[in-house]
Symmetry: C2
Subunit: 336 residues, 2 copies
């Protein structure tokens, strides 16, 4: 995979990496990962959309997460960025740093998870680099997407008086993380095995909403994916667009598992609203686009919920049940 040493020339590890990853690089422009670079002809009349996220063991995932899940998460958080920008995937580049203790079985599983998801999401592996590290397993993915020229959905163009919507359900991944960190806390005591597994799965396996890319381009004024928490991310979007907003906490869509956990331990509502790792799409659009956008989402099996509206001025108000303004300790989760 380029100059870093996975091009088959060198050590046994080099050859292992080549054997595992070259089969994933079926795109002709990947040149079987045998060259220094990949080459790809971008579709005429389109802009490129570029995003790059890195994940570190012990920071963004648990060191004992299944390697296939780590690969999937690393890929999916990048594809989620493409989805939020209204982009269709063109391909991905992968760099990862392998710690001393990582064995062949783990690399095989990592490659398989990556390959399955590259195929499932139509995002071919184009190239990358593999290096050793004395530190934790670290994965960096660069995802390339395309939009018709000038049509990328940014955070910048939300207007006053538009609807604020979110896809799917919010808080599942943050609750899944809380569950991993402290399975004994009150909120999780009454949940059944299926609910507990659902929350953990939502943390491990984000669901990039690429099925909504086209509809976002057609209908949304602004959008982003929810990675650092609904409240903090919405505040960023509103600030970038120069508008204010008001949402009702009671409208935030919660899964049955999240509802049960929050009912048992109300403090978990704040975890859900600010915890992050949702990888759902937060979008602002004219009211008269809601039906058309909702129809596409429904057809794809993705829920869409109106949380509130944009207003003149600045700042985000989160209204609690009864109309009081919620005071949140922390608007979003920062990995940094």
């Amino acid at each position: 995979m380029g100059a870093g040493g996975t091009d088959g020339g060198g050590s046994a590890e080099d050859r292992l990496i080549a054997r595992l990853f070259a089969p994933l690089a079926r795109h002709p422009g990947a040149l079987g990962l045998m060259d220094d670079a990949a080459v790809i002809a971008p579709p005429p009349g389109h802009d490129l959309v570029l995003t790059k996220d890195a994940l570190v063991a012990g920071v963004h995932f648990f060191p004992d997460d299944p390697p296939a899940s780590i690969a999937r998460k690393a890929l999916r958080v990048n594809l989620s960025d493409l989805a939020a920008k209204g982009a269709d995937p063109l391909g991905v580049l992968l760099a990862f740093a392998v710690p001393p203790g990582m064995d062949e079985a783990a690399l095989v599983a990592f490659a398989r998870g990556l390959g399955d998801d590259c195929a499932a999401y139509g995002a071919p592996l184009l190239g990358g680099d593999t290096v050793r590290t004395p530190g934790p397993f670290t994965v960096s993915i660069t995802a390339l997407g395309t939009v018709p020229a000038g049509r990328m959905v940014t955070r910048l163009d939300a207007k006053v008086g538009q609807a604020i919507v979110v896809t799917g359900t919010i808080g599942d991944a943050a609750l899944g993380l809380a569950l991993r960190l402290d399975p004994g806390r009150a909120g999780f005591a009454g949940l059944g095995a299926a609910d507990l597994a659902f929350l953990k799965d939502r943390y491990l396996h984000p669901r990039p909403r690429l099925v909504l890319s086209t509809a976002l381009r057609e209908h949304a004024s602004a959008a982003m994916d929810v990675s650092d928490g609904l409240v903090g991310d919405l505040a960023k979007l509103l600030a970038a667009s120069g508008v204010a907003g008001r949402i009702e906490a009671a409208r935030v869509p919660l899964s049955a598992a999240a509802r049960a956990a929050i009912a048992a331990e109300p403090a978990l509502l704040e975890t859900a609203l600010t915890g992050g790792d949702d990888y759902e799409i937060l979008a602002v659009m004219p009211e008269d686009r809601l039906d058309a956008f909702g129809a596409v989402a429904t057809a794809a099996g993705v829920g869409v919920t109106v949380l509130g509206r944009t207003l003149g001025g600045q700042g985000l108000t989160v209204e609690a049940a009864g109309g009081a303004t919620m005071v949140l300790k922390q608007q979003s989760f920062s990995h940094f």
Copy 2:
């Protein structure tokens, strides 16, 4: 810088990163690093060339290397791949993982080194991600370049009976590394301060030969940059093209500093030939293109040396002075 938390919303570190890197992202498509993704219109009629290399402290650079030099090296090794493919830079994405002990001054210096080189090489920063790591400082760069459609120079198309050439001088960086690891060894005892500084600088600061991109597209049948050692990399190129080759060790271009070190300690010749980190261009081209290619290189102040020729069959023969075949312990250096 996208979902990883440098978009200004979060912690003091987030804001520091935003303050340091946003000014480097002057390309309008970088959206001031305020969005989840960058957007760029690729030039019509061109292919994209994509490369991604990762560098880890203690593996690819010394933890106490100046942060500005680390940034420069991370950028330049990627730009060197673009140069070898005949590509012109379009932009770069940066991800880096910051260890606990890295202070603000180091981040400031890293950003300055990166910014200076992005400007010098015409490769604007388009986006990326910053994360924390409990491990070593780790940098991953994805470089995007362009070539006229169908014109990327690969490793695959060297033909029998062509000239094997290399730019610049070989072995300086490997000797610089050897000097860093063991300054007391015999080869370095007689070198003056300027020669020692030159070798160290060649290890720290690769010189991507982007000035030769166009000439490589026009004249080379195959090319790659020398990152893992001249002999091993040439063997890879020949194998990828399905040809054999013979070069003379005595023709390998050496700097005055390298010549002095090797004269004092002949074993260092093998270090020079196989050590890597040269980031010079190894190319195979028809004999009748040598003059035209050499003229462009000379005008740019870059030397070009003919090392030997491609042959039918397979394998690389390195001929020592007197005509004997050199036996090398290891053809290339593997970081992995």
